[in-house]
């Protein structure tokens, strides 16, 4: 038995040795964050609502934390950038007030009393702050200069005409800070600037069904403004690296793609009726008809039409009452069934018809061509967000086992207003910026782990994903959102 005991002991010792000898080193070929020799102690984001982290029709801290500039700043710090605090104009939850109601503007899923038709919109949350939390104490420009609603012209604007409704709260020219975004950037002396403007030069046109404004920004003006922007940046900050981004095709976002197919399904179920709608410029009788058969001639129905989609087929003048028409426009007869009769057609303001789509599409194509050409001549990196989102619109994107799409709510990438990215959508955008910056400037920034960002808050227990359900946002509730572009 002695030998046996000895063998057991020896085996135990051998096993223990093997155990302790087994801890492996980390693999050597893993991505390591780095700046590729650059020194980056200041990063500034120039942009609009997309940069601001505006979500679900509101500006509020719990969404702003996941703005793509803030996510990018986090990855820059991981790579060794000495940014300190990346200052953003955090608006304490529940965020900014709707100017008309004084209550929080942001949307939530309000009611699922009819789970097939979720009601979405502001739910009357009491606003806790009338300005960003550190607007009065931070005596320098914000590092995130995303101005919700600002068009390209907002960059050089010194009087606030093009700075959007949030300009005074974010640029704070009245408080003695630089009066323009451009001057603010120069004051901050960044080594890296992300510049993503231009979306609002077509988005305001599109989200109002081509009515307000009645055309996208003129191309030659766009080219001149873009050239001026990059040129002045180059002259003021000759050593700063600049990354710009293309404008996504508005036709890929859920604001335009959600309601039409659902209306089509409803009409098909009702004996294959056609939708009668007002074409571009029409105010009376509607001459457009569609069965939403999927052809390129189909109109896109704005998410703002969600409140009226359920009324199709009934004699109603609700749209005209809601929108303060003093009298019915000539040619309109609201005793006729709404949306299925030429004399009570689906309104132009809720429709992007094929002509308007062509105008918006051409503007996007031309803007993006201009962005790429001008960026190239100033040595800026180009993030082709349009290409990325067009691909996601077509194919979806699989990230860590989840298939994300551009579908409203269930797609996971867009917030409840159907235009602005969700936290994870912002993560996808941030990663595209990182890829382009790495490729252009030789940095090795690592990406954002999209799955680690909070998912869209959906009251799942009540939500129905029926094929015919039409999400509903009460019409007045879009005022704040559409007001972005007024």
């Amino acid at each position: 038995m002695k030998l046996f005991a000895r063998i057991i002991t020896a085996s135990a010792v051998a096993a223990l040795t093997l155990f302790t000898g087994c801890s492996e080193d980390a693999p050597s070929d893993l991505p390591k964050p780095g700046l590729g020799g650059l020194t980056i102690n200041k990063y500034v984001a120039v942009g609009n609502s997309l940069a601001a982290g505006y979500q679900s029709s509101g500006l509020y801290k719990s969404a702003q934390m996941y703005s793509y500039p803030n996510l990018l700043a986090g990855q820059l710090k991981l790579a060794g950038a000495g940014l300190g605090t990346f200052e953003q104009p955090y608006w304490p939850d529940p965020g900014n007030p709707d100017p008309k109601t004084g209550k929080a503007a942001r949307y939530v899923i309000i009611s699922l009393a009819d789970p097939n038709n979720p009601v979405i919109g502001p739910k009357g949350e009491t606003v806790t702050a009338m300005a960003p939390e550190n607007a009065a104490t931070l005596m320098r420009p914000y590092d995130n200069l995303g101005l919700p609603g600002a068009p390209l012209a907002g960059f050089m604007d010194t009087v606030g005409t093009y700075q959007g409704g949030f300009g005074p709260a974010i640029v704070r020219g009245a408080a003695g800070l630089p009066k323009s975004v451009f001057r603010s950037v120069v004051a901050l002396q960044p080594q890296l600037v992300t510049f993503w403007l231009g979306n609002n030069d077509v988005l305001g046109y599109a989200t109002t069904g081509g009515t307000s404004p009645s055309a996208p920004t003129n191309l030659s003006i766009f080219q001149a403004l873009y050239t001026q922007a990059l040129d002045t940046l180059k002259k003021a900050l000759p050593n700063a690296k600049v990354a710009v981004a293309t404008v996504p095709d508005v036709r890929t976002v859920p604001f335009f793609t959600t309601i039409g197919p659902k209306v089509g399904a409803k009409l098909a179920a009702n004996g294959g009726l056609s939708l009668y709608y007002q074409k571009s410029g029409e105010t009376g009788m509607g001459t457009g008809t569609t069965k939403f058969s999927g052809g390129s001639g189909d109109p896109l129905i704005c998410l703002t039409g969600s409140a009226y989609a359920g009324l199709i087929g009934t004699p109603t003048g609700k749209f005209y009452k809601d929108n303060g028409f003093p009298a019915l426009p000539a040619g309109i007869d609201t005793t006729k069934p709404f949306g299925v009769h030429p004399q009570n057609p689906w309104p132009n303001a809720l429709t992007l018809d094929s002509a308007e789509q062509a105008i918006a599409g051409l503007a996007v194509t031309n803007f993006n061509a201009a962005i790429k050409t001008i960026a190239a001549s100033y040595g800026a990196a180009v993030v082709d967000v349009n290409a990325v989102f067009t691909d996601i619109h077509k194919n979806g994107v699989l990230i860590s086992g989840v298939k994300y799409t551009t579908a409203y709510i269930t797609g996971g990438l867009f917030s409840l207003d159907g235009v602005h990215p969700s936290n994870r959508g912002a993560g996808v955008v941030a990663n595209e910026f990182i890829k382009s910056i790495n490729a252009k400037f030789g940095t090795t920034l690592t990406g954002v782990d999209v799955a680690s960002l909070p998912a869209l808050d959906i009251p799942l227990s009540k939500y129905m994903a029926s094929g015919t359900g039409i999400p509903k946002v009460a019409p007045a509730r879009w005022d704040s959102f559409l007001g972005l572009w007024q």
């Binding site: 693999p27 893993l30 789970p115 690592t446 990406g447 799942l460 994903a465």
Partner: protein, 405 residues
Amino acid sequence: MEVTLKTHLYRSIAMVIIALMALQLTNAGGFQLNEHGSRAMAQGGAWAARAYDGSAIFFNPAGLGFQNHGSLYLGTTIIAPGVSFYGPTNQGQSGKTEMVSQVFTPINVYATYPLMEGLTVGLGINNPYGLGTEWDDNWTGRYITQKIDLKSFFFTPTVGYKVSDNLAIGANVSFVTGDVTLSRMVSPGDAKVELELSGTGFGFGGGVIFKATDELSIGASYRSSVKIDAEGTAAFTPSSALFPAGDAAASLELPSTAFIGVAYKVMPGLELEADYQYIGWESYKELKIDFKANNSSSVSPKNYENTFIIRVGGEYTMDEYQFRAGYLYDANPVPDHYVEPLLPDSDRNGFNVGLGYKLSETMTLDLSYLLLKFDERTVTGTEVQFDGTYQSTAHLFGINFGYQF
């Protein structure tokens, strides 16, 4: 005295079996398990040409033909796997996530009885397929997997027949039960899905051992694939009409396997064996789960490839001791594109040692240890878009108790 001892022994054995079954009910181990007897395990699992003990029911049923005595052989393997994941690199991440530590204890129980000279019957109960991985509930791969537990029980009545002094054949059938529980998160809205499925299946096998000379023995065996049609439920938390909660079903084909081995008595007391094991993993093309609530299916392509294991080992007998050692090389069946944290496999080198001890004329104790070193595996462009590097190791401890009558 003799009677008392036997009664005591039987009672002890019964208790051990019950305890082992209870252990197994809470755990399961790697998708295919090849440790089904400590004596074989200590020799790298190279056992198909000899199959001297009850584990012949697994390795080669022909082995029973040469066993002209009754026996009980029962034991367990304590499996402690460890996996570290670095990634997901396609999301720019390089952080390390460790799989939650678990210990698995597949059992093996074999009873054999000689009906007459040259004809021996037996029954085996073991767990040839099992899988268990668990990651932190909140980890970044939670939409791919949080936890999976797959276990199978094979009940295998076997007959072995000695055709002549140097040739034996054997055959068996297996009645199989399989259970799988699986949990992960689903999008949109962050809900957790938990699946519980169970089912039964049927398989068969056969083998032959030919003693070419007094020193040289050749064995071959085959076990069919087993198709398990499992049914159960899918539960979603929170529940939502977005998700197909309720009855669910899946079909899983456990792969066929075959051994061919050559054993040689080098000198008195020393036997060596080398085996080639083939596994028909091609049967695992996809994991398709059908949800009856909305007639939908979730299909995860797997596209495993047929693969093999090389096994070499031997034992040296000295008085009441047997010293054993072995080595195995296990080529993994998972193409790079399909590697995922659900089953982060890679090629394995296994180093085996063990000891047999004769407690009495009729009783034996076998101990074994296997260190499984998985090759570090880095994958990119994976099916689930979850790339990175896996480092895995497993420690396996086997213990078996044998009784001959």
